[in-house]
């Protein structure tokens, strides 16, 4: 029983004969935090603009609450947007910016004031009503943009890379803050980002995109642990991706060694690819490992060391909390549940 608030059916879109969205199928549940994740130019912002009503799809349907809204102009949709550079109105103060939507809907003065002040309190900007926009920091402008959208009580909030203009520390803070605000107001957030860490830490559902195609839809844990293809695996975190042969169910061979795994359902001896996350490589003395390799590089990363090991077939990237001298020979093994087998990706 999956409740669908928004559903995109067979959406395609081209700009100047260049296809940016290819037959997109996607639905969004009420109250979920959904992230569209992908490199720039993958079509994620275009999807957002189609839901917001700023672009019209060449074909396909946009179903909102059971009605096709593909032809509805933005000002008649029950969604609001937080734009990439906020697009605040610089000649108005904070209060007037937030009150803009209510003024247009002719909400009474008293009601407007009450709702604007409430919203400013929610985003932590109490007492900033009279400030000019150019007197605010980036993070504060961000909050005004969120308040300006949320005060209209939309069913869905669209966020177009809202954190990309902030510095790393503020970004982290705003991530937590956004998640908190989403829980409090209890509406659907559709968030666009190219930052995989941002996507994993905030979302209920992540949609990974590339070249106008959806690569994978799933929870952050699914996406990280079970990437569907090489693109997703490489885009979400670091990984060793190794060509392999699926000998039979639960047995995969790569780099000349057979490994037990937990995957099944592949054809016998199918050519596949295996994803090994660096943190899943277990480093042992050479005689205990399945593969032997020599340390060629070690970098201190704070919580752990990142080690590059040179084996007979390739270099492996691993993470460890122990220091190993360059030139040390080590064994590598992986426990079966940490080996993830994927179908080989067709070359684009």
């Amino acid at each position: 029983m999956k409740n669908k608030l928004i559903e995109l059916k067979n959406i395609t879109k081209s700009f100047d004969q260049q296809e940016v969205l290819h037959n997109i199928q996607l639905y969004i549940r009420p109250n979920e935090f959904l992230t569209l994740l992908g490199p720039s130019g993958c079509g994620k912002t275009t999807i957002l603009r189609i839901i917001g009503g700023f672009e019209e799809a060449d074909s396909g349907e946009v179903i909102f609450d059971g009605k096709d809204i593909a032809k509805l102009p933005p000002y008649k949709r029950e969604v609001n947007t937080v734009f990439q550079k906020y697009a605040l109105f610089p000649f108005m103060n904070v209060f007037d910016n937030v009150a803009f939507g209510l003024n247009i809907k002719k909400v009474s003065k008293a009601e407007t004031k009450k709702r604007v002040l409430e919203m400013l309190k929610l985003v932590g900007l109490e007492g900033f009503e009279k400030r000019k926009i150019d007197q605010l920091s980036g993070g504060q402008q961000q909050r005004v943009a969120i308040a300006r959208a949320l005060v209209n009580e939309p069913k869905v909030l669209l966020l177009d890379e809202p954190l990309s203009a902030l510095d790393a520390k503020l970004r982290k803070e705003m991530q937590m803050e956004l998640k908190k605000i989403q829980k409090k107001v209890g509406i659907t957030f559709i968030f666009v980002t190219h930052d995989q860490e941002e996507a994993l830490s905030m979302s209920d559902t992540v949609v990974v995109m590339n070249h106008g195609n959806i690569q994978q839809i799933g929870t952050p844990i699914d996406i990280y642990n079970e990437p569907k293809n090489r693109f997703v695996a490489e885009f979400i975190g670091e990984s060793n991706i190794i060509p392999a042969i699926m000998k039979k169910d639960m047995l995969v061979a790569f780099d000349g060694v057979d490994f037990e795994c937990v995957d099944s359902g592949f054809a016998p001896n199918e050519e596949v690819e295996v994803v090994l996350r660096p943190e899943d490589l277990v480093l042992t003395p050479p005689q205990f490992g399945k593969i032997t390799a020599t340390v060629t590089d070690i970098t201190f990363k704070g919580v752990h060391y990142e080690i590059i090991l040179k084996g007979e077939h390739r270099d492996y990237k691993a993470q460890t909390t122990e220091y190993h001298e360059i030139g040390t020979e080590l064994g590598i093994s992986v426990i079966p549940s940490n080996i993830h087998v994927m179908h080989k990706m067709k070359e684009v």
């Binding site: 000002y75 947007t81 734009f83 697009a87």
Partner: protein
């Protein structure tokens, strides 16, 4: 040290000569507008005689009315058309935009006489009777490029998402234009309108060619009157100069004072 003072003296002299060159003729004109006699070279005593003449002269007053009303109408209409064009240009494809912007420059570079003859031929071939409305149309036309040139750079600096943001918050496209885009362009629009007004108000060549039926503006009537000595022109010129001076004062000095006050206020707020 001595050398420095010498160069300072030279600068002072240089600026003095330039200012004299610019303003002496104007000062002379203003001065002789208060002359009691008809001479333009010999001052025989203070009098407001020529100002009295001016007010009594219905021909001149009619010309003043024509100049002002045409300048106001041409300013309003060309500002509206020019502003909307500038906004539209920013949404055009690059090739179209570059082409239009270059075409827009031609009327400003063109000698007035060429534009004037162009209008003359156009109106004649369309058999439009020349008079007030042909003059107005010509003025609107030659003012538009100036408005576009002052508004377009402002449009270019706008965040392209601003109109989207307004519509996202429930504003119709017209409301987005009216409530968000126009207020953000107001400086450019104001500068364009001011340029249009001055261009229209002091135009002679084009007006002279496109008018008829005895409709004259100030420059035409002044031109006709210079054929004989008439200090009434001096009086008229003095008033025009004063009007321009006051306008420039309002446009240049007052925003400066407001800006200064705002800065002081900001500094005050920050200190508290």
């Amino acid at each position: 040290m001595k050398k420095f003072q010498k160069s300072k003296l030279f600068y002072g002299l240089y600026i003095g000569v330039i200012f004299a060159f610019f303003y002496l003729p104007i000062v002379v004109t203003m001065f002789f507008s208060f002359n009691s006699s008809k001479s333009l070279t010999h001052f025989s005593g203070f009098s407001l005689r020529w100002y009295g003449n001016l007010i009594k002269d219905t021909e001149i007053m009619q010309a003043v009315y024509v100049s002002i009303s045409i300048a106001i109408l041409a300013t309003i209409i060309s500002t509206i058309i020019g502003t909307l064009t500038a906004i539209g240009l920013s949404k055009c494809r690059k090739l179209v935009r570059e082409m239009l912007l270059n075409v827009n420059n031609i009327p400003m570079m063109n000698p007035d006489i060429v534009t004037a003859i162009g209008f003359l031929i156009l109106f004649s071939s369309l058999r439009i009777p020349k008079g007030y409305y042909t003059m107005l149309m010509a003025h609107i036309t030659f003012c538009i490029p100036y408005v576009i040139t002052s508004v377009y750079p402002k449009v270019k600096t706008l965040d392209p998402n601003l109109a989207d943001a307004a519509m996202d918050l429930g504003a119709s496209p017209f409301m987005a234009l009216y409530k968000v885009i126009l207020p953000m362009l107001r400086e450019g629009i104001f500068a364009g309108a001011l340029l249009a007004f001055t261009m229209s108000f002091d135009d002679f060549v084009i007006s002279y060619f496109v008018t008829g039926n005895g409709v004259s503006n100030i420059s035409i009537i002044v031109y006709n009157m210079t054929k004989r000595t008439n200090p009434t022109i001096n009086a008229l010129s003095t008033i025009v100069i004063l009007v321009i001076f006051v306008t420039m004062f309002i446009v240049k000095v007052i925003p400066y004072l407001i800006g200064k006050r705002r800065k002081e206020q900001l500094a005050y707020e920050e200190n508290n």
